[in-house]
Structure formats: C-alpha cells, structure tokens
C-alpha cells in the first residue's frame, strides 16, 4: 500500500516536471515562430536583400529565465535573404549572442518593445537602456547587432500609419 502511494506521488512529481519542461520549450519555440513571422512579414525587405557577407551567419538568442528545466534555452537564427524558423539550441559559430536577463513574465513584453520601435534610433536607445539595466547583454559584432535589430524592426511598417 505504502509503496503504491509513493509510486503515485513520484509519478505525479515526474509529470509536473515534464509539464514544466514542455511548457518552457513551447515558450522558446513560440518566441522563435513569432519573431520569424514578424521578420518575414513586416520587416524591411531591403535589409534582407542586403545581407551580403552576413548571409549564412548565425545569431544566438539566450533566455536564461527558461533554465531550469531547459539546459540550453537558446534560439539560433541563420541570417538569410529567405529566412526560416530559428532552431532551438546554441549556434556553432555565432557572430552575435544576445542574452535576455528577464523573468518569463517579462519576456514577451520585452520582445514587444524591441519589435515595435519606430526607428533604428529608437531601438538603439531602448537597447542601451536594457544594456544599462542588465536586462540585455550582447556579445559579438556591433554591426551584426545593428543589422539583426533592423530585421525585427517592424515599428516603421506602413501598417502602423493606417487606420481601419
């Protein structure tokens, strides 16, 4: 009887852990999918077309708030004129690594702030603020950082000027 109860509690704990891990994986994948959608639909096409030598380079985004249970909570984007979903996991040779040091609850609002800036200048100011507050940390090429930011800058898309 006792062993049955123990086993039942153990099973329940394992399921709790499994649910937590799957939910955090889902958050990571969902961030990747939404950023991919924003990039392909709303960012400036010229930026994608002028990648030049950056074509094929990797940019890694880290989200430490999702660890644990995830061992390596990061997304890797491959810069390309024809972008695809980022993959889960670290880059082999990242030209830029961005780390978001925010709680899970703040992740999506932080991303929202990043993508909806109306100009690159606004985005840089916001990034500098985040860097100073240690909400964000970057490692790698400054130019790659600016280029990558431009890819997600949808705030100057014409849809923000229209009214229904």
């Amino acid at each position: 009887m006792d062993s049955n109860i123990k086993s039942s509690i153990q099973v329940q704990r394992e399921r709790e852990e499994l649910v937590d891990k799957l939910k955090k994986e889902a958050i990571l994948q969902n961030i990747g999918r939404l950023l991919y959608i924003f990039m392909t639909l709303f960012s400036k096409k010229e930026v994608l077309k002028k990648l030049g030598k950056r074509e094929g380079q990797e940019v890694q985004m880290n989200f430490p708030a999702l660890s644990p249970p995830l061992e390596n909570p990061c997304l890797t984007f491959i810069l390309s004129e024809h972008p695809s979903d980022p993959y889960m996991g670290p880059a082999k040779n990242p030209v830029l690594t961005i780390t978001y040091n925010v709680e899970i609850e703040e992740l999506f609002s932080t991303l929202n702030t990043m993508v909806t800036k109306k100009s690159l200048f606004g985005l840089i100011i916001s990034m500098l603020k985040d860097l100073r507050n240690k909400k964000m940390k970057t490692k790698g090429s400054l130019r790659a950082s600016l280029l990558f930011s431009k890819l997600f800058l949808i705030g100057d898309n014409e849809m923000y000027q229209q009214k229904d």
């Binding site: 039942s8 329940q12 399921r15 939910k23 969902n30 939404l34 609002s109 229209q162 229904d164």
Partner: protein
Amino acid sequence: MIYLSEHKIIPYEILYETLSNSNDLIFSAIPDQEMHVLKSFVQNIKDTMERNINHSLEGLPIVGHHFSFPMELFIGCFDIVPICFEGVSYLLSALLTLGSEPYYDIAENFGHPYHTCTSQKGVIGMTLNKLFEFDAIITPTAPCDNTMASYPFFKWWNDTPLIIGDMPTPHDLRSTRYFKEEMEQMVNELGNVIGQEPDYERLRKTIAHHNQALEYQAEINELKKAKPCPFESVLCPAIAGSVPLLHGKELAQFFKEVVDIGRKRYESGIRPWGEEKIRSVWPYMSVLFDIAMCEWMDRELGMTVLFDMFSYSFFDPINIESDLDTLLMGLSNQALNYPMTRQSATFADPFIDDSVFLAKEYDANCAIFTSHLGCKQSVSLIQIIRESLREQCGIPMLTIDLDVGDKRFTSAQTIRKEIKNFVLTLNL
C-alpha cells in the same frame, strides 16, 4: 500506469500557454486595425483551451475525437472534455518552430508508417509519450484510410474504449438514416463508458447555437463574393481550426466576430493589408505549419485564399423544435457532409463539383492544390480536378507536394517560391 487526475491533457496545457503568449504579443505588437481574424481566432481558441483544462481538472471524462464529425451531439448530450486529435497536431505545427515534429518521430520510431497522415500521427506520438489520458475515443469510419488505420492504435495501445460509427460510402437518404442509427449507438456506448445518461434537451440548446454559427458562416460565404474579399486569407485555416475545436456557442461567437469584421470592411472598402490582385481557391488544405503563409500571400502577392476544403460548409440548420428522430437525422446529414468527409468519404463527384462550383461562384483566377503526403485518395483526383477547372472555369491549378503539418518534407521557402513562380504565369 495510473496517473492522478491532474495533467491528463498536457498538449492542451502547452497550447494554452502558447496561445496566451501569442495573444499577448500579437495584440500588443500588431496595430489595432490589423489581423482581426487571427486575433479573434487566437482569443477564442485560448478561452476554449482554458475551459477544457479546467473541466479536466474537475474530473470530467476526456474524450478524444476525430475532427470531421459534428461533436455537438456528444457535447450537447454529455459533460465531457472534447479533445480533437487533428486540431492538436496542427495547432502546434502552426505556433511552434518544431510543431508536432518530435511526436511524429516518436510515432514513426514506434513503427507507425511515415506516409500516414500527420493529423493523427502527432497524437499517436503524444500518447506514446503519455501526454494524454483518454477515457474514450469516438470517430466515424471516415473520411479516409488514415483515420481507420490510426484510431484503433489507441484501443490496442492502452485499451482505451474506441467507439466507432460506421459511415456508408454512398451519401443518400438511406445512408443518412443508417448513420443516424450509428450515431445513436455511439451516444449509448459513450454514455455507458463514462457513466452518464444522454441529456437530449441540452442537445437542442447546443444545436440552436450551432444553427446560429451556420447562419454566420453562410454570411461569411456571401461576403467572400465581394471584390475585393473583405477577409484575410488566414480565415481559411482559422475556420479549419475553429470548427473542430470550438463548439455551439463558442463557434457562433467566433463566426459572429468574423462577420462583424467582414461587414465593416465591406462597407468601408478598406483592406489594411492591400490590394486584391488574385483570387484563389484551394480545393484541398491550407499549409498549416506556416501560419504566416496566408499573410504573405495577402501582402506580397495580393492573393486572396477564398476557400480551402475546410472553410465552406453548406449545411442546412436543424429544426430544434422537431422530434428527436428528425434532430438526429439532421445531425447525421451534417456528419455525411462534414468538411473532408463530404469530399473524401464517398465517390469523387462532390470533390470535383465543389472545386468547380467555388471557382465559378466566387470568380477565382486560379487554384492551388496542396498534395498532402498522407492523403492518397485526394492525390488520385488532382489531374481530374485540374482538367475540370481548366475546362469549366478556364483557370489553372498549381499542385505542391508537401505534408501540411510537417515542414521537413517541403519547406515554407520552397512552397512560397512555387507559388511566386505560378503567379508569374497568370498574366494578371
């Protein structure tokens, strides 16, 4: 293995988490006037997921079901948590970078053939990973061989009661009566399994809401005739997802919101995403693993997707004042005409006729057929549908080989390239 009552529907918990986050970001990052249909869809599905999770925690029986079936019958009669197999697999495909791919792989590694439909393969993988705990599963023997070959897995794997309604191949009055009796049998069997008596009075109320949803859907169909079409193309996959996941009142609510959006746009003539240059019909399914595909067609190509197989239902409403026999006959008639069952579970004529009718009635310039790996019976019709559309409507049809729920077969980039090249040939 015995689990406690919590976490019996883990994929729904994941979906709820994902939809909540997507909802937050879409509402905050996308301007108010944009993507109304997608916003409404995400909000309504999220609310339904939340309700289902709460009902599961309350201990209501978990009933898995096939998407191509009027679940109003069972939701009206019983207190259950309905889990749509196909909806789970494909919603995850739309919202996550890996989608349901890890679960397809689990099912395939277990021995399930790679060429079966991903719509059920996802839930097979999830069940093998112990993410679902069903009390019963219900399905008709339609619309395809995949269904009939995949659903018995659950009975075999962990002896979950599997309740099957035998659907005849001809879809005539005699078949309607036959399937009505099958449905009654299914209700009785499910009642026995979950220990509940069917509440036919509540069923009437559920059907009343469903009738309302059908009226709204008829209005959506009418509004689509307008040029330009007042809806975003994403409405097609949104309807495909909403019909099996939202029921009765919830479905009526979603369709009402869509109608309101359409009316407003029709009257104002404003389409925030731009000019309509091409009107397309998709005789088969939309690409479900890339939710951005429809927006891309709207914005980059000016191409509207008017219909896919799931987004038109020309059902007659059911008279809720009628006796039970007539009520069930109405539901049986709907079951025989449910999206995909109507086109695939009988002789090929409705599939061809519907494709031609939609292209003519809605003045389409072209058609695009997604040749889904799992759907052998539809692939056999591609050439006939292409010739019918060319001869009777004078429009060309592009065929794209893919798996609608698994981007590893044909990538989103390849599909977009094919559509782009096809558009160049249209000379519009």
